[in-house]
Assembly symmetry: C2
Homo-oligomer: 298 residues x 2
């Protein structure tokens, strides 16, 4: 049984004649005869009654017809969906990212994507650490990743920009009124709001402080970036967070650093040549570059 044979069946049933159905299908009448005979032989019963003037469905054929229509309809649905998928307009994309980016960076491009390609579903797969993100892409748990640019990557990589880290303090902090960028070393003796060990930002913050010549002490740890920012804003101590996670009306004070702490962000995937769905997504990222609170060049 083939899709083609079922289409033939429908055409004949619709027109009530082999000859006319053959015209519709742009094939010869004998070809249609043969194919229907094959179908009838495979199914084990006649589907049409041959009359002197055209043909008519048998009881068996009439019973089978709705099922045949269902198969053809399903096939057409599948083809429609895939043609939209192959134009990057539909389907499902599993986007891997790290926790902080799904708050600070992704909302804008995802909103654009929703608007421009309403039939394209996105499943966010959030990882705590850049390593597990890369692993997740490699293992096929997600189709594309947005995160810190991997050191060396076998597939497609494309830099999106650099996110800048700021130190968040409470409005009544002694350094809150500083004009311009501050020196990170001023916070060396403070009690920091730090990230929990498993959070990917934790080693990053420690490395930044180490470059400034100290190791941050902390009494408070959280795995959530936005929690760290809010805790710092309420006086729990300084916290280093990406500037893009701070909302416009944020209650704390964000201090830029004299020695900027930056992280290169990229979109990357297993495939060296991304397919249409990935391209659509990557395009959405590109066109939102200037609205993602990233530094475009270091």
């Amino acid at each position: 049984m083939t899709l083609r044979q079922l289409e033939f069946l429908l055409a004949i049933a619709h027109r009530g004649s082999f000859t006319r159905a053959a015209l519709d299908l742009h094939i010869s009448q004998p070809a249609l005869s043969t194919q229907l005979r094959l179908l009838e032989e495979e199914l084990g019963c006649r589907l049409f009654e041959r009359l002197p003037r055209g043909v008519q469905l048998t009881a068996e054929g009439r019973s089978f017809l709705p099922e045949a229509e269902a198969v053809i309809a399903a096939a057409e649905r599948a083809q429609r969906l895939l043609s939209s998928v192959s134009e990057g307009d539909g389907g499902l994309l599993r986007v891997g990212t790290v926790l902080s980016l799904s708050i600070g960076v992704l909302p804008v491009p995802l909103a654009n994507l929703r608007r421009q390609h309403p039939d394209l579903s996105v499943e966010l797969v959030e990882y705590e650490h850049r390593d597990s993100l890369e692993q997740g892409v490699s293992d096929g748990h997600c189709d594309v990743a947005v995160g810190p640019r991997p050191a060396d990557w076998y597939g497609h990589v494309e830099t999106l920009g650099w996110e800048e880290f700021v130190v968040v303090v409470a409005p009544d902090d002694p350094l809150a009124k500083s004009e311009g960028p501050v020196d990170l070393r001023l916070f060396a003796d403070r009690n920091w709001v730090l990230f929990s060990q498993r959070q990917g930002l934790s080693p990053f913050v420690h490395a930044a402080c180490a470059r400034a010549g100290f190791a941050p002490r902390g009494r408070l740890r959280t795995s959530q970036v936005s929690a760290a920012a809010r805790l710092a804003a309420s006086g729990a101590g300084p916290a280093m967070v990406p500037s893009n996670v701070l909302e416009p009306g944020f209650a704390g004070v964000a201090l830029r650093l004299q020695e900027p702490v930056r992280r290169e962000l990229a979109v990357f995937s297993r495939d060296a040549a991304p397919g249409p769905l990935l391209l659509t997504f990557i395009e959405a990222l590109r066109s939102a570059k200037n609205h993602m609170l990233l530094v475009v060049a270091p």
Copy 2:
């Protein structure tokens, strides 16, 4: 796009490997490679990512997979249904008949059919007259007919039996206490309960009376056999009806006739060689022959 290619796609997705899927499908690995390549070319995008160790669905392939499964599932459903249809176990049969038979004769075989083939639906198409029944079969409005045996018929015909007509009178009728068959001429001067012109039994009753040498007068006409019987039972005048329409606890008195009035009943269809569905139905009729209140031999 063919059903076969979709099956290939599912097998590969399921096994995660061309080689293993080819083993499952009992084809060679290159054949599978080629077919999938053709499918991908037709659809316009890669469905699998080729990895050193097997393959993995792309985002496009993963989006398409559920649709492909739906198509295959619909095809399997269709095949299952048709295999049950070709064994006469399912589907829809349109049974044409005349009004009186759907009351008196068909209930028993239809009940048997329901019991033995629960998935087989029957649509009763009732005609007022044997001529329109024959026309209905010829025109394809029903698949098979149960009714008075046609004079000459081009398709399959099979006699079911002879229904015998009785004269129904009220219990207080002068002739109600007659022992044995009565002479139809005794009712020549009565006011009959007759059938309306369009009812198929009307000419039949008139012909029977004509054979007995009189033309029945009537003050009351109905198109329904059971109404005629009840009216007669309540004293409206004699009525000639098939004996099989009288229920066991019927209130009137049914008188058999010395010159029996009988009508040959048959099942017939357009097709000279009935298909499985018709055969199932005809078989149900045959096996109910002795329970349909028919005379088996004239």
